[in-house]
């Protein structure tokens, strides 16, 4: 038992050391540093498309890299592939399990994936004459909360079993398991250079991982509840998180700490989803209160709101060309705004 006590002491000492090191470089905050920057224009976006077709709550959506197609997942037991320009449904994928929580489009546009309370990530090929299930990735001991393709051969998953995993799609096996979170993993995002990814969990921590060696490189503190949404800034040097504590935060990777918090005393709904505009200046955050608030990422001010859904906004996404923002809701609709 002496060994345990010693290690606990060392752990506490290291935590204090890390906190002190962060404080030592904390010579300002983002909002103060951006005081001289012209405010972002008042952002007034209009609904350009309302995509109707799902029969139950929408839980996830993801843009294809062609900036036109997108996939959405609903607990009506379907994935729908939409042509956002025409508003038409291009494909419907019936799911074995209707308890879906996430979906993803492969960068090639050939594959989509989904998963949820079945604890599995199922990968489908959209390019075969009839849509086929390519693989069922089954090794997580908890629900699948998020998945993202690196390529047609590799996919990353985040799970309620507190782990994330990298899978080989040829063998259907886990190549690497990422262990460190002590709460359900709720979201993940790939770095722009694809060498690392960031995860958010119910332990209120965000963690940066090296994809190849499985090492947790950094841990970000500050949130006081589950982190439900996470995204890299396009520069790759910062990440934005959204939490049940009703705030979003930006963490800078090189300063290893929170640099700004997006919050408002009037806001007391949890953040469910978020997406960034192409320059990283705007943060689109979906909330439980049916709205999507738009934040100036540098100044921390609210610069707009997307109102129109009749229930919780559960997912948001901006395509690679930054032309619009899509919101998906428990009201069963997806809306495209610009």
């Amino acid at each position: 038992m002496g060994e345990m006590e010693q290690m606990k002491k060392e752990a506490e000492g290291l935590k204090t050391q890390i906190e002190a090191a962060r404080k030592a470089v904390n010579d300002t905050d983002m909002a103060s540093a951006a005081a001289g920057v012209a405010p972002a224009p008042r952002v007034q976006l209009k609904t350009r498309r309302t995509l109707k077709g799902h029969l139950a709550k929408i839980y996830a959506m993801h843009w294809c890299t062609d900036n036109r197609l997108m996939v959405s997942a609903s607990q009506d037991g379907k994935l729908l592939i939409w042509d956002s320009h025409s508003g038409n449904k291009v494909n419907a994928v019936p799911l074995k399990s209707s308890w879906v929580m996430t979906c993803a489009y492969a960068p090639s546009g050939n594959l989509v994936a989904s998963g949820g309370l079945d604890n599995m990530c199922t990968v489908y090929n959209l390019k075969t004459p009839v849509i086929k299930t390519v693989k069922e990735l089954d090794a997580h001991a908890g629900y699948l909360s998020c998945c993202r393709f690196l390529s047609d051969n590799e996919i990353l998953t985040a799970s309620g079993d507190t782990t994330c995993a990298l899978w080989d799609l040829e063998t259907g096996k886990q190549t690497t398991v990422f262990l460190s979170h002590v709460g359900d993993c709720m979201c993940l995002a790939l770095s722009p250079d694809n060498n690392s990814f960031i995860s958010g969990a119910c332990d209120s921590l965000a963690k940066l991982w090296d994809i190849r060696d499985g090492q947790c490189k950094q841990t970000f503190l500050g949130h006081t509840s589950d982190i439900n949404a996470i995204s890299f800034l396009p520069s790759g040097n910062a990440v934005v998180t959204g939490s049940d504590d009703c705030t979003c935060k930006m963490y800078d990777l090189r300063a290893d700490q929170e640099v700004i918090c997006y919050q408002d005393a009037a806001l007391n709904s949890g953040v469910t989803s978020l997406a960034l505009s192409m320059s990283g200046r705007l943060v689109f955050a979906g909330y439980d209160d049916f709205n999507c608030n738009i934040w100036d990422s540098l100044k921390g001010e609210k610069v707009g709101v997307l109102s129109g859904h009749d229930n919780r906004v559960s997912c948001t996404g901006v395509p690679a060309d930054g032309m619009c923002v899509c919101t998906g809701s428990w009201d069963s609709f997806l809306k495209i705004w610009n």
Partner: protein, 70 residues
């Protein structure tokens, strides 16, 4: 009982190892990080359609002007 303490020790060992790794990180000043973040956002602002607005002629989501066919 002994199983619990064995896994407890292993778990704590992992925690300490991870903390040692994170303690060794080199950190830059927040002021420097802020400058770089500002620079990136401002440099890319002109290319950001949601920030700058999309002219209707270039907007793939704008309903097309109606053409009357006689």
């Amino acid at each position: 009982m002994s199983n619990n303490s064995a896994s407890g020790v292993i778990s704590l060992q992992k925690t300490v190892k991870q903390l040692r790794f994170e303690a060794g990180l080199r950190r830059i000043k927040v002021s420097q990080a802020a400058v770089d973040l500002k620079t990136f956002c401002l440099q890319n602002a002109q290319k950001d359609p949601l920030l700058m607005g999309v002219p209707s002629s270039d907007n793939p989501f704008r309903p097309p002007k109606s053409c009357a066919l006689f």
